[in-house]
């Protein structure tokens, strides 16, 4: 139940992930001890994560997810030095206080909803929640409209997949930050067979060694797709059928648990032979923890998600400066700097090609380690045609429908 877990714990797990992302320290290191040490080393960083950066007269408060920004590794173990943000500060003179406190979409929504419903400030100039939160907040008139005339880079460089998504078809209220896919990961050495579809997770041979997700939208989404239903069109009957499918699997003891981020360790260690998984995690797992693990989008369909920059209503006097910050991320230079480090789907067209150029430049300069790394990360910074064709967005749900789905999912979780 990731959604309700203690924040600190999620932060620590994300910090573990963050260390995996600082792969140059990690290449060739597979011992688990290394991971544990990494967690401890990052703790002071977590504590210090709220220190301000920037000296401008305006300082923007930005709330984002952990492990979602490039870090100057020289400053570790106190990683509050973000090259791309520093470049923005240098360019504009606008300060940015970067906060990694967004740990869960539902948590975030519950945190700001009481303030916004009473017309109070949230304290954040810029927030970066997932799609359904953007849609929910826009519906309730909790978001400032974006002024596209102040977003020239966005207009010029935003990639097709990053625009016009279901939660904000005209990008009236949000601009894509980063995204990814949800599919299946498995270790072929342990499964002793190839996995191609969701139902392969239900093979009795794997009973008790399969990981499911505690995220309702991902878990119901993949199950619905395995039943031939697109999540966006799913009716309550469809979801009930998906629920029954999962409950039947539970009764057979198929899933060891409904994991949050922690599926990562269980899968990397081989406790799980296969699991529902996030694409970006497996890129990192292959680089740092377990090169055997494969990620696939099930042939019956995977899920596609994104986090998005948005401005909560009445929360900022710095609308213009916040627009500048949003637009900054749509300059190719900033996007490349970021993507080379974090490896999710960028919202900017051309990032992949630039990373491949950087890779061949590194190879020419004799830095094969960097070149190998960049070549590994280039394919994951934008979705391929196949991925776009075979991944599906969440359903746009009303509050009531959300509650109905949630109650059905609670039964899947054992409630």
């Amino acid at each position: 139940m990731s959604d309700q877990r203690s924040r600190i714990e999620i932060a620590i797990e994300r910090a573990l992930r963050q260390d995996r992302i600082s792969r140059r320290n990690f290449l060739g290191q597979t011992a688990k001890g290394g991971v544990a040490l990494g967690a401890l080393m990052t703790l002071p960083g977590l504590i210090a994560a709220c220190s301000p950066s920037g000296s401008g007269s305006v300082t923007l408060e930005w709330l984002n997810w952990p492990a979602y920004i490039d870090i100057d590794e020289e400053s570790a173990p106190n990683p509050t030095n973000y090259p791309s943000i520093n470049a923005f500060i240098a360019q504009t003179g606008i300060g940015v206080n970067y906060n990694e406190g967004l740990l869960d979409n539902a948590d975030f929504y519950h945190q700001v909803q009481p303030d916004l419903s009473n017309g109070n400030k949230t304290g954040w100039d810029l927030v970066t929640p997932g799609g359904w939160v953007v849609q929910r907040m826009a519906d309730l008139d909790y978001l400032e409209p974006l002024d596209h005339s102040k977003l020239p880079n966005w207009t010029a460089n935003a990639a097709d997949w990053a625009k016009g998504n279901w939660y904000d078809p005209e990008n009236t209220h949000s601009a894509w930050w980063q995204g990814g896919t949800t599919g299946i990961a498995y270790d072929p050495a342990l499964t002793e067979r190839e996995l191609t579809k969701f139902d392969d997770l239900l093979d009795p041979a794997f009973a008790g060694r399969v990981g499911a997700f505690s995220d309702m939208r991902d878990m119901f989404g993949l199950t619905l797709l395995s039943l031939g239903v697109e999540p966006a069109n799913a009716t309550i009957d469809d979801v009930t059928a998906a629920q029954q499918k999962l409950v039947t699997a539970n009764d057979a003891g198929q899933f060891r648990g409904y994991y949050d981020n922690s599926y990562y360790d269980a899968l990397a260690a081989g406790d799980l032979v296969a699991s529902v998984a996030w694409s970006g995690d497996i890129t990192q797992m292959r680089l740092a923890d377990n090169p055997n693990v494969q990620f696939i989008i099930p042939e019956d369909g995977g899920m596609r998600w994104s986090d998005n920059m948005a401005i909560a209503k009445g929360s900022t006097e710095h609308i213009d400066e916040t627009h500048q910050l949003i637009d900054y991320w749509y300059s190719l230079d900033a996007a490349v700097l970021l993507s080379e480090y974090i490896g999710y789907f960028s919202g900017v067209a051309g990032v992949k090609d630039r990373i491949l150029e950087d890779a061949s430049a590194a190879r020419d300069a004799g830095d094969n380690e960097t070149a190998d790394y960049l070549e590994a990360i280039a394919p994951v910074v934008e979705p391929s045609e196949d991925q776009l064709a075979n991944t599906y967005p969440d359903k746009q749900m009303s509050e009531d429908e959300d509650q109905q789905w949630s109650d059905l999912f609670l039964e899947v979780l054992g409630g």
């Binding site: 519950h110 929910r136 648990g257 360790d265 406790d271 109650d407 054992g414």
Partner: protein, 283 residues
């Protein structure tokens, strides 16, 4: 003279204010919420919907019982582990008493999260403990411990052990040793002297330790989540309450569940203290 009458009430003031602000008012608010209907976006209206109570009890009764069972097992195991430890420290600790007590509490200076995450590493299928036992052929290679009900009880036991040991230690420490000697002088066997003198005199510690362990354990959700890995057969009522609050946005049902848990726990505690004798708590 009149002023003096008010002094005790003034002194009670801060405590009463604390209880009022941080206990009575939130509980009242939650009671009202539990009887309301609506959604987060539209708001909740008080409709005196008492039907929610039988509804949640019917739906989640089994999980209440499971949580009580987990908490009882936790209390029992912490008592079985903690009593000999507290006894040894109190009676045989000598000048090392303080050091030994420190050792009991020392792991708890490290964040709960780090400790629990590390348990997950130690207890993983092929980790330090079970990997070794499997290599030695003691365990079946398919054995796993994490994500089972036993692992949740393990996590609860580990996390609440000091809450059992410390009150036990305090109770045992203040026992007058001459009473045990006297029992011996009066020809009590050592076992019977322990049972009829030492154990009986340590009962306040047993009661306090059990309550400090049982009450938080029954509402816990973290261990089922981290060590239990969200296994559907291992989750506790606390997980449901949290999900209802944060995911379903079903505040009334969540509040009703929380109330049932509070009242159920109070009833169990009342039965327990009545059975053991409530006066032992304050002895």
């Amino acid at each position: 003279m009149g002023a003096r009458r008010w002094v005790p009430y003034l002194l009670l003031g801060p405590g009463v204010a604390w209880l009022l602000i941080f206990f009575a008012i939130p509980m009242g608010y939650m009671a009202i919420l539990s009887l309301s209907e609506g959604t987060l976006g539209r708001g909740f209206d008080l409709t005196w919907n008492f039907a929610i109570y039988p509804e949640v009890i019917g739906q989640y009764g089994e999980l209440f019982l499971r949580s009580i069972f987990y908490a009882l097992m936790t209390t029992l195991i912490t008592l079985l582990i903690g009593y000999p430890m507290a006894y040894t420290i109190a009676f045989r600790g000598g000048r090392f008493k303080n050091v030994l007590l420190l050792i009991v509490v020392l792991p708890f200076f490290v964040s709960f999260v780090i400790r629990t995450l590390n348990w997950r590493m130690v207890l993983s299928d092929n980790g330090l403990v079970f990997g070794t036992l499997k290599d030695l052929g003691v365990l079946d290679p398919a054995f796993h411990f994490l994500a089972t009900p036993a692992s949740v009880i393990f996590g609860l036991t580990y996390n609440f052990l000091p809450f059992m040991i410390l009150p036990l230690y305090v109770a045992l420490e203040k026992i007058d040793r001459r009473l045990i000697e006297a029992a011996g002088d009066l020809y009590a066997a050592r076992g019977s002297a322990f049972w009829r003198v030492t154990f009986m005199l340590s009962l306040p510690g047993v009661v306090a330790g059990s309550l400090l362990t049982f009450i938080p354990a029954v509402g816990d959700f973290i261990n089922a989540e981290i060590i239990g890995a969200g296994n559907p057969d291992s989750i506790m009522i606390g997980n449901v309450i949290q999900f209802k609050f944060l995911n379903s946005n079903d505040y009334p049902a969540a509040a009703a569940l929380a109330f049932v848990l509070v009242i159920g726990t109070m009833l169990l505690v009342a039965i327990y203290t009545r059975a053991v004798g409530a006066e032992r708590l304050t002895e």
